[in-house]
C-alpha cells in the first residue's frame, strides 16, 4: 500500500502544482477576489466529492470488501480560533499544508522556511495542548483536536 499512497500523493501534488493552489499569486488573487480560479477548484471538488461520499457510505465497503468507516472531526472552539490563525498563515505564506511540500518539490527555496515554521507551529500546539484544552473546550489529549 505504501506505493499506492506515494502515487496518490504524487497525483495530488501534481494537480495542486498545476492548478494554482500552490501559487502565491493565485492565493492572494483569491483573497483579494481578483481571481476566482481557486474558488472554482474548491467548489468543484466539494460538489463532486459529496455525492461520491454519499454513495461510498451507502456501500459501506472498500474496494477489497473491508468495512468503510469515516471518522468525523470533533466540534470545539479550536475550529474557529485555529481556523483564523491558519487563514492568517495561509495568506502570509501563500500556501496551505499540502502546497508547502509541493512548492519545495517545485524548487521554491522559501517554502523550506514555511515548512520549518509549520513543523515548529505543530510542535508548539502539541506542547501547549494540555494548557489550552480547558479554555477552548478541546477533546482529551488521546482524541486530539481532529485529524486530517
Amino acid at each position: 500500500m505504501t506505493f499506492f499512497y506515494l502515487l496518490m500523493g504524487t497525483a495530488f501534488g501534481f494537480v495542486l502544482s498545476r492548478s494554482g493552489a500552490a501559487d502565491y499569486d493565485f492565493i492572494q488573487g483569491m483573497f483579494l477576489f481578483r481571481d476566482l480560479q481557486l474558488y472554482g477548484i474548491i467548489g468543484t471538488a466539494v460538489v463532486l466529492t459529496a455525492p461520491g461520499l454519499w454513495l461510498l457510505k451507502r456501500r459501506a465497503r472498500t474496494a477489497t470488501g473491508t468495512p468503510l468507516t469515516i471518522e468525523t472531526k470533533p466540534f470545539h472552539s479550536g475550529n474557529a480560533v485555529g481556523g483564523l490563525l491558519f487563514g492568517i498563515g495561509w495568506s502570509i505564506a501563500g500556501m496551505c499544508p499540502g502546497p508547502i511540500l509541493v512548492n519545495i518539490g517545485e524548487g521554491k527555496l522559501y517554502a523550506l522556511a514555511a515548512f520549518a515554521g509549520a513543523l515548529a507551529g505543530a510542535a508548539l500546539l502539541g506542547l501547549v495542548y494540555p494548557r489550552v484544552q480547558a479554555p477552548l473546550r478541546l477533546p482529551s489529549v488521546a482524541v486530539g483536536a481532529g485529524d486530517g
Binding site: 494554482g20 499569486d25 527555496l109 522559501y110
Partner: protein
C-alpha cells in the same frame, strides 16, 4: 493569469477540482483513508518529540499512509516542474517581489512566520483546506464548516491588510 512556476498556464478549474475529487474518493474507496494533510506535520513531530499529544493513536497509526503521501506531494511538485519547462531552484514570489520586495533573508523570516501560523492553526482547528475544506465540507460536518469559514476570513483579512493597506 499564469503560474509563477515557469510561467505555465494553469489547468482549468473544473478539471483540477474533478481531479481532486477523484483522488479524495479513490483514497477512501481503496484504502479507507480520509484525505487530510496537516496531521502529517504531527506525524513528523512525533518522530522527534516524545510528548503525549504526538503519542495518540490517530498520529501513530496514520504515519504508515501520511508519510508516503507527503513524499508524493514533494515528488508531484518536482514532476510538475520537470515536465513544465524544467526544474531549477528559485526565490521568485510573484507580486510579493513587486510590492513587498524583501531579499532572501527577509523572505525566509516572512515564510517561517507564515508557517508557524499554519502549523499551529491547522492543528488547533483539527484540519486544513483538504481535511476540513474538501473532505469535511463534502461530508457536511459542522466543525469543517466553522473551520473553513474561519480560515477564509483569516486569509481575506490578512491579504486585504498586506496588499490593500500596507504594500
Amino acid at each position: 493569469m499564469h503560474l509563477i512556476l515557469n510561467d505555465v498556464e494553469p489547468l482549468h478549474w473544473a478539471v483540477a477540482g474533478a481531479a481532486i475529487a477523484g483522488i479524495t474518493l479513490l483514497l477512501l474507496f481503496v484504502s479507507n483513508r480520509r484525505l487530510g494533510i496537516s496531521t502529517g506535520f504531527e506525524d513528523i513531530c512525533s518522530l522527534a518529540l516524545p510528548v503525549p499529544y504526538f503519542r495518540r493513536k490517530a498520529v501513530v497509526s496514520g504515519r504508515v499512509w501520511r508519510l508516503p503521501f507527503l513524499v508524493g506531494l514533494l515528488f508531484g511538485g518536482f514532476l510538475s516542474a520537470v515536465l513544465g519547462g524544467g526544474w531549477s531552484p528559485t526565490w521568485a514570489l510573484g507580486i510579493f517581489d513587486d510590492r513587498v520586495g524583501l531579499e532572501p533573508l527577509g523572505k525566509v523570516a516572512w515564510m517561517f512566520a507564515g508557517g508557524l501560523f499554519i502549523g499551529f492553526g491547522t492543528r488547533l482547528a483539527g484540519g486544513c483546506t483538504s481535511g476540513h475544506g474538501i473532505f469535511g465540507l463534502s461530508n457536511m460536518e459542522g466543525s469543517s464548516l466553522v473551520s473553513t469559514i474561519s480560515f477564509m476570513v483569516g486569509g481575506i483579512l490578512t491579504t486585504q491588510l498586506v496588499y490593500g493597506v500596507l504594500f
